[in-house]
Symmetry: none
Subunit: 191 residues, 2 copies
């Protein structure tokens, strides 16, 4: 009813429905949402729930995000994390420093870390959620990376990316302190 501030979603849904050449009734059948409700939503007379939106997206065989893309509010962004303000998870007793750079609003999407390994130290990680990928750039030192069945040794300037949805570990097998830049990506649903 109100829909005071954010752009209306009704017209997008209607556009989608017509693009698929569906009537309110046919989309109602495919989605499980009543035609009456669909009508109200398209006319922006109601404020659909997520569950309803989800069903509609399924009925239209599209990603729910596509329906919401219209109501995004793009704002310019320029966030700085100073060295000293950065939250630090420090497993010092094991000789591994982990510094997280992007814990902010995007925590579920992309994270940037710096890892410092003292000689001989290693970091064992349990499997992350499905579709998680890790990207490592070795800045200094020599490390061994193991993910599931796979294993590799990397030196300065080397880069590796791997799926982190299996148990994996990183180990500094060299004599000097290793410095690694890591990016972790939690992929969103379907392509």
């Amino acid at each position: 009813m109100q829909n005071n501030s954010h752009p209306s979603i009704g017209s997008s849904i209607q556009k989608m429905r017509k693009a698929h050449k569906l009537t309110l009734s046919s989309l109602s059948q495919k989605s499980g949402v009543s035609a009456a409700t669909l009508s109200q939503i398209e006319a922006d007379k109601v404020n659909p729930t997520i569950a309803t939106l989800w069903k509609i997206a399924e009925g239209l065989e599209i990603d729910i995000q596509s329906l919401l893309s219209g109501l995004e509010k793009q704002r310019p962004m320029f966030d700085i994390s100073r060295k000293d303000e950065i939250t630090r998870f420090d497993t010092e007793e094991e000789g591994v420093h982990i510094r997280v750079f992007s814990p902010l609003s995007m925590a579920e999407d992309l994270e940037v870390y710096t890892l410092t390994f003292k000689p001989g130290q290693k970091l064992l990680s349990q499997a992350h959620p499905a579709k998680t990928e890790e990207f490592l750039t070795v800045v200094r030192g020599n490390i061994r990376v193991k993910a599931g069945e796979n294993e590799a040794q990397l030196g300065p300037g080397d880069f590796i990316r791997y799926h982190a949805d299996v148990e994996h570990h990183i180990e500094n097998f060299g004599a000097e302190t290793a410095l690694i830049n890591m990016v972790v990506r939690f992929k969103k649903g379907g392509e």
Copy 2:
């Protein structure tokens, strides 16, 4: 209440809220959604409307889409790029080395670079496609980053993320060679 089919959104919201170090009450204030409702949503006891979700996203200062992530499965992956095999775009004549680590199949989504700036050198980039973000970690040296209206000076250990869909540049204003790790993300657009 029901929410049978689609992945629960409650835990994501809670994670986000805690990442921002907000209490239910403080988020309630920022978003305009009552703390009671927030509690119910986080516990997946209700089916929020998009209006509510939108307010929450605003309160968290994030994109509403970030709240709607799904899950899927995939095959294991383990790709290594050795230092010497890496494609190198070298603008040596300007004192800036750019090394690209992830040119492969994912180039349209996420790219990882290492940038080396000789003292005094700078790199000017035109606006990238809309929604592009850049993440910089300074490994060594001192740089100045400018994106649109914004500008900042960064030293070793500092991190910055900004929208790169405006003209932007990076400059080494210090006396030593600067080493930067950069991640560029091209966000997927709607439909």
